[in-house]
Assembly symmetry: C2
Homo-oligomer: 335 residues x 2
Amino acid sequence: MNDETILLAHGSGSRLSHELIEKNFLPSLANPLLAKLDDSAVLDFSGRLAFTTDSYVVSPIFFPGGDIGKLAVCGTINDLAMSGATPLYLSLSFIIEEGLTLSELARVIKSIKAAAEEAGVKVITGDTKVVNRGSADKLFINTSGIGIVPEGIDISGANAKMGDKLILSGAIGDHGIAVISQREGLKFSVPVQSDCAPLNKLVSQMLGASSQIHCMRDPTRGGLATTLNELARQSKVGIRIEEGKIPVHDGVRAACELLGFDPLYVANEGKLVAIVTPSDAGRILAKIKRNRYGTEASIIGEVTDEHKGKVIMRTRLGTSRIVDMLSGELLPRIC
Amino acid sequence: MNDETILLAHGSGSRLSHELIEKNFLPSLANPLLAKLDDSAVLDFSGRLAFTTDSYVVSPIFFPGGDIGKLAVCGTINDLAMSGATPLYLSLSFIIEEGLTLSELARVIKSIKAAAEEAGVKVITGDTKVVNRGSADKLFINTSGIGIVPEGIDISGANAKMGDKLILSGAIGDHGIAVISQREGLKFSVPVQSDCAPLNKLVSQMLGASSQIHCMRDPTRGGLATTLNELARQSKVGIRIEEGKIPVHDGVRAACELLGFDPLYVANEGKLVAIVTPSDAGRILAKIKRNRYGTEASIIGEVTDEHKGKVIMRTRLGTSRIVDMLSGELLPRIC
């Protein structure tokens, strides 16, 4: 156990900053581009470049199934993958509250290393700031990412077409419930693990199975309901889903009932929704189900020309209702 | 005056998040790539790509000569420019403390817009998180940047060569003293403004004047002394500078005397050090002096084969002393 803590001086650009980087970051994340430690990483690139950014402020920083490091890598990789891009490189920027222990930081860096290796991406540039106690909450991480979009791929939230099928890659709500349970010290009889995972290899398998994937998005903050509303608005189409087709784990269902949440609005970090041409839907679904992160995938609905910009759900009772975008705040600091 | 404040729900991915982006961010920063609002921005790119990231936690967020928005754009642009890259695109990620006023946010976004326009870069992807009161301090910003390095340019902290000249683009310490004065409510008879500025056009003029610029770096956290030590270590050379050649404004000198600081360690946000082949030094210096951000530039020293990895300064008194890297913390949250 390492009880040393992060001091303000670790963020000052001083000798201590250099030691932190050289002893704590470089050994785990080493690659020739990062090791140069210039102000920018420089590399050759040719093709369609995807670029994305996300800051992660999840509380607590460690939760069942992951931590802020794994989340920061997976979340940004997934944003790239949702554009059809093959993720290649990440930047990594820490804002650390004075007093974080070096052992906590080491755990986070170990997770970053593991997730980056699984996804096949490299961290090539970074930054570390330290703020005084009380000016942040332990640790915030920003990751920005660069990927390459293969020839012929054109995936956008604006591309959904009438008749397209909606595929959901698995059960919803695991991440949000895992984080809130940890934060509030709630114990459920069926424990819930975050689904946090890098989906780039799953996406690459899907793209291998069909060139007719029109939209992809990972339903993070705001949950599946908000993501589907975004897609309906961007594509100016209606979306119809069936409640009975949407997988929800028992633990999540129980927790949601207890807490008064609707799983449709609870965040996921290892799921995707794809809107695909109907004739390819079966083939894409079969491919997804063979991936470890897609075993519970199902076709949950379709794109319609009714109720443009809206999402309609046929409930288990056989009635229909509008599923709106999240309004207000459900769970702060979930990612 | 707009007294509305940022709520947790502005960061939830909800309707309010979408409204914040559509009403407050898009109108100022609009461009076709950003407007798509997909998870990643996608664009064609071919060549040598420079990629960098920085998080900004400056306190206070408004200070004489700039604010956290201007700083976040200029700082990342300058990191790209120091690799010889032409900055093209930025990502912009906010971590906002609940309670920040919308008018404060609007001021910051206005600065971001102005700095991005001056530098000729576009913000093409972004993210907004909101944390509860007390979990951050008003506003943190991460900007990551992409640029293109022109053919034939090879600038790195490891490239300094024996006999090279050191050019400093202007007076040191302005940014650090401006921020600390504002934070502590200090009034000096000669007020100090931050030098925060985008240096990419200056760099492009320098590259037009000579292909023999070996190293460039902007002396931010840790000041000129720390930057020169980094370069001496990376290039495995000695660096000799002359105190009498390093411009320091009167206000900075007076503040440093009062506060017990050495201007060599105080942060700059609109200055660069270039290490260049001796025969081109005069021509490069002349070019720098014609740029509005380089009027006080001077040749401050040279690269030697003595004291490898160290920086030696000849003082105004004619004695020589080792100038070490900053050890410990001088001014927290300066950038």
